[in-house]
Assembly symmetry: C2
Homo-oligomer: 197 residues x 2
């Protein structure tokens, strides 16, 4: 069965890929607004793990709505959620049996409610899977450590390909450089370089 996994090159979506690999033909798919080439980082990580990769185009209007919302809120949560939902719609439109993402039990954002999951499945005739939604942070960290070589650092410095990099760029362009520090608190990011051993 063909599965499209929303993929960033980070530890969560990489672990989701390995978990689903037992049952599906997993394709790592990264959404990109065409603002930067950051999706290349995800392509490289997928390559290192041995999964096929695909880039899907996201609507720039959605990125604009998201950064306006973030700037207004002063925090990124609702904007990120908006983009994540758009990206799930985009991969659900691919010719696959199932779609998935790397959301964990303890994630505050993005979240996909049971009703949203059901709606995605019904409208696109796919299964939506969140294979890490029953795993807490500690369990994920242990499995990641066992499974991958990773690189960890502040979110501004780690080359990852979640929406954050493109949204940062667009935010700087539309609301000025200073808006980045206002909206995005410093946090640790992880990028997967390959498998252990």
């Amino acid at each position: 069965m063909e599965l499209a996994l929303l993929y960033s090159g980070g530890k969560d979506s990489s672990l989701a890929a390995v978990l689903l690999d037992r049952f599906y033909d997993v394709r790592c798919v990264t959404g990109s607004f065409g603002i930067t080439d950051d999706w290349r980082h995800a392509e490289r990580a997928a390559d290192a793990l041995g999964f096929p990769f695909e880039r899907v185009a996201l609507e720039e209007s959605v990125a604009r709505e998201a950064v306006d919302r973030m700037h207004e809120d002063g925090y990124p949560r609702n904007g990120i959620q908006h983009v994540h939902e758009h990206a799930l719609e985009a991969i659900a439109a691919l010719d696959v049996d199932a779609i998935a993402d790397g959301t964990r039990r303890d994630d505050r954002v993005p979240t996909v409610s049971r009703a949203q999951a059901q709606s995605l499945e019904d409208r696109h005739d796919v299964d939506y899977l969140a294979p890490l939604s029953g795993f807490g942070r500690h369990a994920v960290d242990r499995l990641v450590e066992e499974t991958f070589e990773v690189e960890t650092g502040p979110s501004a410095e780690i080359a990852k390909a979640d929406y954050e990099d493109e949204l940062r760029a667009l935010l700087a362009e539309t609301h000025g450089e200073a808006a980045i520090a206002e909206v995005f608190p410093d946090h640790e990011q992880t990028y997967v370089r390959g498998r252990t051993g």
Copy 2:
């Protein structure tokens, strides 16, 4: 890493075992009140799938509380939930790194909230995993069909080893045979006989 999976011999907990097998040394564990020998069915299923098996003793007082509650309610939900929580406590006390169960996204009972999961983890210093909680019914059915030879039928006739059989027996003993039909609606059960192909 050692993992104790709450196991019934049904399709959900069997699929959870296979999913977790990629990362953990999975032991299938069935809780039993010592009322019937139904746990033997789970042992046979674990055997057929090639997983080690263990029976853990549950407190008969918990079964009594559960059937009294079910009889009072006229439906099994709260009683089953009470027993499931007790069984999770019992396997969390084993010498393992992680515990798990087979709850699915669409299950109404048993459910384990994020707060309950965190509390289990903190008190017992284990990870609690619900590997199917991000999978809907349709996805689980497709994976089960691909993975197992199963037997399906009315819940009263399929030899499975979830708590239901022992609770039915105790309910009949304490509240009379007729109480069974009052409390338990007919539903389909599945028992796993082995792997496909």
